[in-house]
């Protein structure tokens, strides 16, 4: 009986402070157990990330021909509003005029639309402050006004007043034809 107590009998193959066989087995067993738990933990965490079908729906196409000049159409993209604004020449001119004004998030109007498509402004319709949806045409600059905390955007979607830190985000999009865009 006495010779079966754990650790009572020194491993004859051990020398000095070197780890003996039993230490090796302990470390190997614990490492295998931790590896197994870690390997199972990842699927349990990753399952909360967007699923395959959610990602498959992540890009949309939109026909611009139905948006009149001066109008804004709001469509849902990735669960959020997407602003499609058909700007008038006056609104474009107002935006370009302010390119050199003091801006919190400096960008020229040129950088915020596709080349040669200045009339089309495509923006993610959530305020860069805390995510509310700004109302079109509000505020001092004729762009957008956020009703939640009073952020004001100009006709280029740039932040001009209020607590929001950034300009309205321009999503990744491309013109498939003169009247059709693909967003995402």
């Amino acid at each position: 009986m006495a010779d079966t107590v754990v650790g009572a009998t020194p491993d004859p193959h051990a020398s000095g402070d070197d780890p003996n066989r039993r230490d090796f087995i302990h470390i190997a067993a614990m490492a295998a157990a931790l590896g197994a738990v870690g390997g199972l933990a990842w699927p349990m965490i990753d399952q909360m990330n967007p699923a395959g079908d959610t990602l498959a729906l992540a890009s949309i196409e939109f026909d611009l021909s139905k948006v009149e000049a001066g109008q804004q159409v709001v469509v849902k993209w990735r669960g959020k509003p997407l602003f499609v604004r058909h700007r008038t020449p006056e609104q474009i001119a107002a935006a370009i005029k302010d390119d050199n004004a003091e801006l919190r998030d400096p960008q020229t109007d040129e950088q915020r639309h596709k080349e040669g498509k200045a009339e089309w402004l495509i923006l993610v319709g959530t305020c860069t402050h805390l995510g509310c949806v700004p109302t079109v045409g509000g505020g001092d600059y004729g762009g957008w006004f956020c009703p939640c905390h009073g952020s004001v955007y100009d006709t280029s979607g740039r932040i001009r007043k209020g607590p929001a830190p950034k300009n309205l985000e321009v999503p990744t999009y491309a013109f498939l034809s003169d009247t059709k865009i693909k967003v995402g």
């Binding site: 699927p43 349990m44 399952q47 990330n49 699923a51 395959g52």
Partner: protein, 439 residues
């Protein structure tokens, strides 16, 4: 075995915590120093395996509930979406569905072990009763869970099982309607089954806590069936049984993983990949394998109400077993008279499972005409399940009480250590040994 504690707080923090919430003392006394009979064999590792399986079912179930939609129009598709689109959903759903089967496999081994070694006898009756409650809850939870994928077998299984309750006189139909929340198994039924399927595992966990509490008062039974007499009969739970349980769990997980990764659908029914259709019943309705024996008992009786009562009685027998067994000897190691009956009982349970999987009128031996006896051919599964059902009940109600009264058991060892210590090679000469004395 319980009541005394050998825990000694080592650090200042442990001493501080120990007089406020002795949780470390509790953990130490429960899974570290707990004195455990030193002769437990691998049949005794299934308690630990079951605790792990309950944990796996709860964790994977909580994850699945994040993606599942309990609505008759969307439930089926949401389960398919989990399998195809949700990240690792195929793994998590496979673990949960096969986990149920592995859970039942382990509980059946656990129960047959308890039957063989007489683990239900005094002073462990409450321990056994709590185990029976857990088993009953597992059956109900498993049934609710099987309905959720809303396939053909899910739906028509739910129809059949809920209709069983309708067999009760007077109140039956009212209870069935109440269960359904309508005139048939429908959206309301699916929603409440989902709610209860989420709730019951936590109830099971609570009863498991009581089960372990009731285990730790008298301590473990053991293959010899004699109580622990001295410290020489026990070893601390850690490292002896943490390692032994750990090894058994590893082997069990290999079997589990081989189902999850290589044959995730083999234990299920292909018909359940067809979306539920209340207008068409599949040709052959069967429950999951772990409930087949009870299904066979149900169908063995030609009367609706009596069939339901017989099936309920089959489970009720387990509850009253501690008072049906008249033998003072716990372990069947020392009860040769009942051992053969026990193994026949085991085989009969397997046979009942086969009967449950076949249509009642299927021929037992293909191509043999047999003869008509009563309402069915003698060469059919229905007659086989009748004989098997008869034996099932006879084992509990006749064989167990009678053999306990008439048998002559083998000499029971004095203590757990005694046979080893009295062996001439292990003991100094002259040590007293009296194997004929009862423990």
């Amino acid at each position: 075995m319980s009541g005394h504690s050998t825990y000694e707080p080592k650090s200042g923090f442990e001493r501080w915590l120990d007089v406020r919430l002795p949780i470390l003392r509790f953990a130490n006394d429960t899974v570290v120093t707990f004195p455990t009979p030193k002769n437990l064999n691998y049949w005794y590792t299934f308690g630990g395996i079951l605790a792990l399986m309950l944990g796996i079912q709860i964790v994977t179930g909580i994850v699945l509930a994040m993606h599942y939609v309990p609505h008759i129009d969307m439930a089926f598709n949401s389960v398919q979406r989990i399998k195809r689109d949700v990240n690792y959903g195929w793994l998590i759903q496979g673990m949960h569905a096969n986990g149920a089967s592995m859970f039942f496999l382990a509980v059946y081994v656990h129960m047959f072990r308890g039957l063989y070694y007489g683990s239900y006898k005094a002073p462990r009756e409450v321990l056994w009763l709590l185990g029976c409650v857990i088993y009953l809850l597992m059956i109900i939870t498993g049934f609710f869970g099987y309905v959720l994928p809303w396939g053909q077998m899910s739906f028509h299984g739910a129809v059949v099982i809920t209709n069983l309750i309708g067999a009760l006189p007077i109140v039956g139909p009212a209870i069935t309607t109440w269960l359904w929340g309508g005139f048939a198994v429908d959206d309301a039924t699916l929603n409440r089954f989902f709610s209860l399927h989420y709730l019951l595992p936590f109830v099971i966990a609570g009863v498991v806590a009581l089960h372990i509490w009731a285990l730790h008062v008298p301590g473990n039974s053991n293959p010899k069936g004699v109580e622990v007499k001295s410290d020489a009969d026990t070893v601390p739970f850690h490292p002896y049984y943490t390692v032994k349980d750990g090894f058994a769990i590893s082997v069990f997980l290999l079997l589990y993983a081989s189902f999850v990764f290589f044959a995730p659908d083999i234990l299920g029914d292909a018909v359940n990949y067809v979306k539920a259709n209340p207008l068409v019943t599949p040709a052959h309705i069967v429950p999951e394998w772990y409930l087949l024996p009870f299904y066979a008992i149900l169908r063995a009786v030609p009367d609706k109400l009596l069939g339901v009562l017989t099936m309920g009685g089959a489970i009720a027998c387990l509850f009253v077993l501690p008072w049906l067994d008249t033998s003072k000897v716990r372990s069947m190691r020392y009860r040769p008279a009942i051992r053969l009956w026990y193994f026949i009982f085991f085989v009969v349970c397997i046979i009942l499972g086969f009967c449950g999987a076949h249509a009642p009128d299927d021929q037992l031996i293909r191509g043999v005409a047999g003869m008509q006896i009563g309402d069915a051919n003698i060469n059919s599964f229905v007659w086989l399940s009748r004989f098997a059902t008869l034996y099932y009940f006879a084992y509990f109600l006749v064989i167990t009480p009678l053999i306990g009264l008439t048998e002559t058991p083998l000499p029971v060892p004095e203590s757990i250590s005694e046979p080893i210590l009295s062996h001439p090679a292990a003991m100094p000469a002259g040590a007293a040994a009296s194997p004929e004395m009862r423990g």
